[in-house]
């Protein structure tokens, strides 16, 4: 609860890594931090990287715009657990008092961010879709959808620091890396012992498939209009022909036709593919907030009044069971033509 301004306004980004793989949302956030820094005079962009034996990942953070990386290396941070991560990062926050702290709204980030904000006693805005510096007050203006996407709210944290925000993967663009960029590494000591951690991971049951729909270039998404789980084989065929993946709306997941990992929307994932084909999806606002960042939206629905048509690049009123098989034939035909001309 410090009211005084720090000498150097630090904009921090939490670098999320698991099994030494950095989640790309970390780099998306560094890109956002760079843009914020341009509007916040004298500010610096820095990264926080907790884990075990992960110091060699720090240069990647330099490439995406951090001038300094705080590496917290400890055996208790080997796999993510709430307590050691929350304590380690909160201690660092108390020491350096950053102005702004951004964390990815992933499973890990959502678990962690609320714990840090509570320890530090500051404000946290979840799932922001836009970050800016308020020009008059020089504070973070964090905009987020609320009430299922019906309303946007810009949240301010006037007196408490850091101003914390989480952002979902793919909401912000991926910056281009600068492979020559370097910076300073600060090795942060952390002395928590394993016996002080009340939660142990007994095992990890890995999902057979981990469809990462957030980062797919092409998504063929099905809604209630698909009619049943069998219909998704057709969507899969189109997705394969286009080199994409199958996604789903919430009713489809609630009905058990598709796995929750494929759900797009407010309670699912945010996607921004080059092409989003919405088949039998009416397009409630809760769905649209998750996919309206797509470059091109092609919607197929029997209902001419489906709200999805309001945002589709091209809307087709018709039966998906007529349109999609014809589309598959054409796409496959073009692909063969392409080979024929080689």
């Amino acid at each position: 609860m410090n009211a005084e301004q720090p000498v150097v306004p630090r904009i921090w980004v939490f670098v999320e890594q698991q099994e030494r793989q950095v989640h790309p949302v970390s780099w998306e956030l560094l890109g956002a931090a760079k843009r914020l820094s341009a509007d916040l005079p004298g500010s610096v962009v820095e990264a926080v990287l907790p884990g075990h034996q992960i110091a060699d990942l720090a240069p990647q953070a330099f490439h995406y715009g951090a001038s300094r990386v705080y590496v917290i290396d400890s055996p208790v941070l080997e796999i993510y657990r709430n307590l050691p991560y929350a304590v380690a990062v909160s201690q660092l926050v108390m020491q350096y008092r950053p102005e702004i702290f951004l964390i990815g709204a992933t499973t890990l980030g959502r678990d962690l961010a609320g714990s840090i904000a509570t320890r530090v006693g500051t404000g946290l805005t979840a799932d922001c879709t836009e970050l800016a510096i308020d020009p008059a007050q020089h504070i973070l203006a964090a905009t987020r959808p609320t009430f299922g996407g019906n309303l946007m709210a810009t949240i301010l944290c006037r007196r408490h620091r850091p101003q914390m925000a989480t952002v979902r993967p793919r909401v912000l663009p991926m910056p281009d890396p600068m492979p020559d960029a370097t910076g300073e590494v600060i090795n942060v000591p952390f002395d928590m012992r394993e016996e002080d951690v009340p939660v142990k991971r007994l095992r990890l049951i890995r999902a057979e498939e981990q469809p990462n729909i957030e980062y797919a270039d092409v998504l063929v998404a099905g809604g209630r209009g698909v009619g049943g789980p069998e219909g998704f084989a057709l969507l899969e065929e189109l997705a394969n022909a286009l080199g994409g993946m199958v996604a789903a709306s919430r009713p489809v997941v609630d009905a058990g036709w598709m796995d929750a990992s494929r759900q797009v929307g407010q309670t699912g994932k945010t996607v921004r593919p080059k092409l989003y084909i919405a088949a039998g999806i009416s397009g409630a606002v809760q769905h649209r907030v998750g996919m309206s960042g797509a470059d091109v939206i092609l919607a197929i629905n029997t209902d001419p009044n489906a709200p999805i048509f309001q945002i589709a690049t091209l809307g087709i009123v018709g039966d998906l069971y007529d349109v999609i098989p014809a589309l598959i034939r054409q796409v496959k035909g073009q692909a063969q033509d392409g080979h024929a001309h080689l």
Binding site: T107, G114, M152, P198, L202, D217
Partner: protein, 281 residues
Amino acid sequence: MHAVVAIKQVPDTSNVRIDPETGTLIREGVPAIVNPYDLHAVEAAVQLKERVGGGQVTVITMGPPKAAEALIECIEQGADRAILISDRKFGGADTLATSYVLARAIETINAELPVDIILFGKQAIDGDTAQVGPGVATRLNIPLITYAIAIEEFDLEARTAIVHRRVEQGIEVLQTSLPVLLTVEKEIAPVRHAPLPRLIAAARYQPEVWSATAPVVFDPQQIGLKGSPTVVGKAFTPEQRSGGEVISVADLGLNAVVARALAVIEQAHVRNLQPETGVVS
């Protein structure tokens, strides 16, 4: 076994407004429901009680007087005791202030009857922040397990539990000491229909009402707008991406429609329409 479940009454997500003076949400006149994830948390607590052969399920909420309805629905669902924490002074609370109030309330409940497990829904469908559960666990200094989908083992003698949680790589199986705070997914327990005797008992049930000063004295600096670091600067309806043309198979025929669809797909520069032409082995 004593379980505490923190629930929230949420408005139907359509038809919402913001108070222009305070920047807070106006909830009056909007249909209200129990946050769907919270009903699964209540069910999980009731099933746990049955599994260990008895105990108490206490349900709490912070909200306006109307939120008593939501608590009664939880009594129907099998909860034993319900507490409504309600006072105008709590109004405008953000997640930090809310977690303070709930944590203080749970400390008080724990002093009367020690608590073994605290359950929250994974998030509320109105705010979607998923922050209050982690905040309460942090304040109470107890283990936190978010996105829980199953309680494999619950050992009151050894004071441990084994909990499954959904993570991006799959399912994590964690062992924790008790008490623990879980935020739960719907899979944790399917919601059952309340049997008639429960409905009758619930109809007569009156939740206890706690104010900002009795029976617990909440720190006035940490509640409501005063205790909330974040404020709504402005609220607005989202700008909608503008759509293009809508064509119909009935009007143009299937071939013409598919040709237009292909043109749009090409516009997206999806590589696979020109497969592997650039690949050199």
